[in-house]
Symmetry: C2
Subunit: 198 residues, 2 copies
């Protein structure tokens, strides 16, 4: 409806517009297949304007991922009170809720995690490490527990897959997905507990 460049936006809004357009594209295609031209076209701006805000798609993708990750990590908490399964379920529900409301950002970061290797791989790692901390705190586990850390890390990787698939094909309702994910976490933790003991 508007001619390219006809809307004058404050820099922060324009930057955010580019980030949102890029997140949408990166959720549909791998990183290498998205060009500056694609992003500029999706944000309805010129190529030159893109370069006023970012030096490369890599820099934009890093910025977009950072916005998404910070939003997710800030929400990951478990309550201090209540039965174990309910405490953990709360953290899982926050994760699923984030994914449901920011599907493009989630898909973009997970799908491209190894493309911008260090930077974004580092972001996925950051989320998993945050998840390990939150779940350990929620389960009242403290200190160095390499096998427990490994178990939660692996669960987080598994649940990235489960939620990616759920976004594409929701075989379970949202509450059922959260229940199932919580059940998987408890089962994995218990199996590791028995393994360590045995």
């Amino acid at each position: 409806m508007t001619t390219r460049g006809s809307r004058r936006l404050p820099p922060e809004q324009r930057r955010r517009q580019l980030i949102d357009a890029a997140i949408e594209l990166y959720s549909q295609r791998p990183f290498e297949q998205v060009s500056v031209e694609d992003i500029a076209a999706a944000a309805d701006v010129s190529r030159a304007l893109f370069y006023r805000y970012f030096t490369s798609p890599g820099e934009l993708f890093a910025a977009a991922s950072r916005v998404a990750i910070d939003g997710l990590v800030a929400r990951l908490t478990t309550p201090a009170e209540g039965p174990l399964d309910q405490r953990l379920r709360h953290g899982v529900a926050e994760f699923v809720d984030f994914v449901e409301h920011h599907p493009a950002a989630f898909v973009a970061v997970v799908r491209n995690s190894s493309a911008i290797s260090t930077e974004t791989g580092g972001l996925v790692k950051e989320v998993r490490l945050a998840i390990v901390d939150v779940i350990k705190a929620g389960a009242g586990l403290t200190g160095e527990l390499p096998l427990i850390d490994l178990t939660i890390w692996c669960w987080a990787a598994a649940m990235e897959e489960a939620t990616l698939r759920w976004l594409r094909e929701p075989v379970l309702g949202k509450d059922a997905l959260i229940d199932w994910m919580t059940g998987q976490l408890l089962a994995m933790l218990m199996a590791t507990g028995q393994f360590s003991a045995g």
Copy 2:
């Protein structure tokens, strides 16, 4: 010890030499950071010779991944007899054994799975689908079981992570790793079974 190009190899051997050199490099660095020059240097051949065998690093990586994947999938079987946990453990042991003997190929394919998006992402998918089939057969499960399929798929994704970490830092011995992985699989399957029933 040999001058570049001094050894004359039959084409199939030369091709394999390039594939092996590339697998080694891709296990250390992300796909985008490996050039034709790097591969040629590692295989001790000229850039021109590389192009006699492959049109691009992408084509070589696809060929290298194909070799690795075929070798792994061919080994994934479970025996028809014996207790459930032992049958599943056999399949898990084949997987870990492959990873132990082909660490570079495993790391290269998993690390770069989204880089050469469709092709290699497709290869990781192929392995996970093979794992789903083998585990279902091993557990005597047949037919359409979307939640069981999801559970095994997620377990496979989790175990890719566990084995990647194990290669870097073997906190468990090989047998203990296989036991732990089998225990995680049984726990996840049982939790899903209870979930479906409940």
